[in-house]
């Protein structure tokens, strides 16, 4: 690497090289003031990603007895939109931060003490975790899976590795950062290379640019700028994007079966067996609700169908009952979902037959789908055939 005339051949020469290595990085951007400011931004960004990610995880896997509220209607839309936009926006911060601190990788001696070794171990976990979360996250929203592990569970596990290492790193660097940001960055930098302030401004501007060209997948007002958004809320059948198609769910052949009925069973006074005509004959309700995907996009639509609470009252279910909604899908992690009382009793929650004025497309869950406020899209079960009231 170094422009020496002869490569070091002996161990002693190698050690000599290692000792001097950290001091040989010349760029003025490798500066504690730069690293500290980028570190603050990254710490905040990863904090947002972790908290919003926890919301999404616990909505899908409620810990014992927790029933999420159905309001505010747009809560999950905001948290998950923020999760993905913030994650994308960390790319320039992460690259800049690693650039600023890369020489520290070559500290000599590598470990001064056991405590120092432990601290560096946490930094290793932090670096790996940050890279892994951002890379796998970017691949997931692009729906490209060049890896054998399950994205959801692995991304969640590594989130804990990352946040643990982050807590230790923040505590360790607290003082250093506090002192570093008190010193204003030298100005003006000589105009021959990029200055420290300019570099920070550039990292911030790149973050903002990425957020701007991505956020349109969940913020309708930013759609014109959604140049690099994996989805757009207005593109899809009937003007709504699709995550799982009828074909990929293996239900395409069974949707149009004339024998289709919706069964309302379980802890009810009267079992209901309703064919399509019977469903259409029930009082129809209209809900303006967003479908919100865990991948960070969302789309508003007008849904029409039977209010779930009306159906439950008709069957004589208890008002505090939990409900299981089952799809025609024979397999898959999302062939059924549980609807807790706050959502089951919410007047906006429908078993929808129509969207945006048309009969549901096959990919949107024809003949009938669940749609409820403040709920991840994977739990808005499509192709519903059974509503079971749990005792």
């Amino acid at each position: 690497m170094a422009g020496r005339t002869r490569p070091p051949v002996s161990l002693a020469a190698g050690l000599e090289l290692a000792r001097g290595l950290e001091g040989r990085f010349a760029s003025r951007l490798r500066d504690p003031g730069v690293a500290a400011r980028l570190g603050i931004a990254l710490g905040l960004a990863f904090g947002v990603c972790f908290l919003t990610g926890l919301v999404s995880h616990f909505m899908q896997h409620p810990p014992f007895g927790l029933a999420w509220p159905a309001r505010p209607v747009a809560f999950y839309r905001v948290t998950q939109g923020l999760h993905v936009v913030t994650g994308v926006a960390t790319v320039p911060l992460l690259l800049a931060k690693f650039y600023a601190v890369y020489p520290r990788l070559f500290r000599w001696p590598p470990f001064r003490s056991l405590a120092h070794a432990a601290e560096r171990g946490f930094v290793l976990v932090l670096v790996i975790g940050a890279l892994f979360q951002v890379v796998t996250g970017l691949l997931n929203i692009a729906r490209w899976y060049p890896f054998a592990f399950n994205f959801t569970t692995t991304h969640y596990a590594v989130a804990w590795l990352l946040v643990g290492a982050l807590v230790v790193h923040v505590a360790h660097q607290w003082r250093t950062v506090r002192d570093a940001v008190r010193v204003p960055l030298p100005s003006p930098d000589s105009g021959e290379t990029l200055g420290r302030r300019q570099f920070l401004g550039l990292a911030a501007a790149s973050s903002g640019l990425l957020a701007l060209v991505t956020a349109g997948q969940t913020v309708p007002g930013l759609r014109p700028f959604a140049l690099l958004a994996p989805r757009r809320g207005d593109i899809g059948p009937q003007g709504v994007p699709v995550n799982k198609t009828a074909v990929s769910a293996g239900v395409a052949g069974r949707l149009r079966d004339p024998a289709y009925v919706l069964r309302v069973t379980g802890a009810v006074e009267r079992e209901l067996v309703l064919d399509l005509d019977a469903l259409r004959a029930l009082p129809q309700v209209r809900s303006w609700l967003a479908i919100t995907c865990v991948e960070g996009w969302s789309a508003d639509a007008t849904w029409e169908g039977i209010a779930l609470r009306d159906l439950l009252d008709r069957a004589g279910a208890r008002p505090d009952a939990r409900v299981r909604v089952e799809s025609l899908q024979r397999g898959g992690a999302y062939r059924q979902s549980y609807v807790d009382p706050p959502h089951a009793r919410d007047p906006l929650t429908l078993l929808a037959l129509r969207v945006n004025g048309e009969t549901l497309a096959a990919d949107h869950g024809y003949p009938c789908r669940l749609i409820a406020p403040n709920r991840p899209g994977v739990l808005q079960t499509k192709w519903v055939s059974v509503v079971e009231v749990l005792s």
Binding site: F147, N150, T154, L161, A165, L227
Partner: protein, 154 residues
């Protein structure tokens, strides 16, 4: 003293979180997840520290050597933003996640959009170069105090 306590608490909390994450990772219900995840965890580190960072350094040295000082900062800025845009969009541009049955997935012309953004970035670089050269013609460098360029590798 309190600072030391804070460190101990942070260390304990961090250790618990890391241990929990590691336990989740290693006890995945799908056995194939574990080696695949470990390979990728190692892979992202090697890819950055062993490939991306050295390439960045080499690129930086080339820029300092071959790009005149007058236009260097805007060019460095343009390169940084370009790399960021390419990294953040490459999975979309490659489009390997596309599904012919689901046109609502990756519906946009990402290659064209990336080219558009890169065009805007380099137009801004060009504008900055024009402004800088106009300024430098008006105000020649103070010869008594020439600012030293960055130190090279000795």
């Amino acid at each position: 003293m309190t600072e030391r306590k804070g460190l101990v608490v942070a260390f304990a909390v961090g250790t618990l979180c890391v241990a929990y994450g590691g336990w989740l990772l290693l006890t995945s219900r799908r056995l194939a997840d574990v080696p695949a995840a470990l390979w990728w965890l190692a892979g992202v580190l090697v890819a950055h520290d062993g490939i991306v960072a050295p390439l960045t350094i080499i690129a930086g040295l080339l820029v300092v050597r071959f790009i005149p000082a007058l236009v260097r900062p805007p060019v460095q800025a343009g390169l940084f933003v370009s790399v960021v845009l390419v990294v953040a969009s490459s999975a979309l541009v490659l489009g390997l996640g596309r599904d012919p049955l689901n046109p609502s997935l990756l519906p946009l012309p990402y290659g064209r959009n990336l080219a558009l953004l890169l065009g805007l970035v380099w137009a801004a670089v060009l504008a900055a170069i024009v402004v800088r050269s106009a300024r430098s013609r008006r105000r020649p460098r103070d010869e008594a105090n020439p600012s030293r360029g960055p130190q090279r590798w000795r």
